[in-house]
Symmetry: C2
DNA sequence: TTCTATTGCGCAATCT
DNA sequence: TAGATTGCGCAATAGA
């Protein structure tokens, strides 16, 4: 992850650079691999071909038994790692779906509660009026109870 | 994506299958590449080395100008595709974070509404009692009003 | 059929 | 030292 950010040369632009030498050299060149030729043309059967005593540490000959074992283990590790990566991506997507559903449930609940609240508020106001009417005995010819009211708090 | 599902041998389960032959064969073998040797040992500079007149259609020689152009275009496409893939993964992760926040907000709102509802219900009951007391002037020893009520909707 | 997009793979450099 | 990651290019093949 950080390797790229720390060491590798900018190849994000890529194309042009590669293009210029694409035909001349098979490819790979601006990357790492201090002692790593294209890998396809590497190690032409016949000799080291890379000037002996120059490479830091080829680790082992390509034919080496140890080399193959290392490669094999790494290949397995790579597969494993990639599998995990994909699984993780799928899990994340799944998580999104779950959260979406959860959200819908919560919104529905909010809607319900809001409705209930509204109804109760109306009832409350109505009763409050009734109470007031009772406390105030009807006198004169005034209208008994204009118990109307903008009973809407929502 | 679907290639795997249609043609390639089941390696989604992966590991085990691969493992079985991993050591035996150097590498690459159960996959495609009908005419594609390991690629690392392929075309050792000096000769075709793959028995001339055998391959169905190598498309073009590795040295071919057209071949390099095709490879180059594909390499670009690959980079592009992988970039998209990673971006998508990041977006999905971001989506998860957003949904989580949204959820918290909704839950908080539900908590608030529930509390409001609770308070209002209590008030309502209280007022109902008061109303009943006023309406029913104290007489005898009978209970003034059966104003009870299962005021619980939740 | 051709061209691009995807995907599995192995390699090598790095990271842990 | 070994396993885990990651960028890369290749080849097969899916998709248009």
């Amino acid at each position: 992850m950080s390797r790229q950010l720390k060491l590798s040369p900018p190849d994000q632009t890529g194309v042009s650079v590669i293009q210029s030498q694409a035909h001349a050299t098979p490819l790979l060149s601006a990357h790492r691999a201090p002692a790593g030729p294209p890998a396809r043309l590497r190690r032409p059967p016949g000799g080291k071909a890379v000037s002996p005593g120059k490479m830091k540490k080829p680790h082992a000959d390509k034919d080496s038994d140890e080399y193959r074992q290392r490669r094999e283990r790494n290949n397995l590790a790579v597969k494993k790692s990639r599998m995990r990566s994909k699984q993780k991506a799928m899990d994340t997507q799944q998580r999104v779906n779950e959260l979406k559903e959860e959200n819908e449930r919560l919104e529905a609940k909010i809607k319900l509660l809001s409705k209930e609240l509204s109804v109760l508020k109306d009832l409350f106001l109505e009763h409050a009026h009734n109470l007031a009417d009772n406390v105030q005995p009807p006198a004169d010819g005034a209208s008994p109870a204009p118990n109307n009211g903008s009973a809407n708090g929502q």
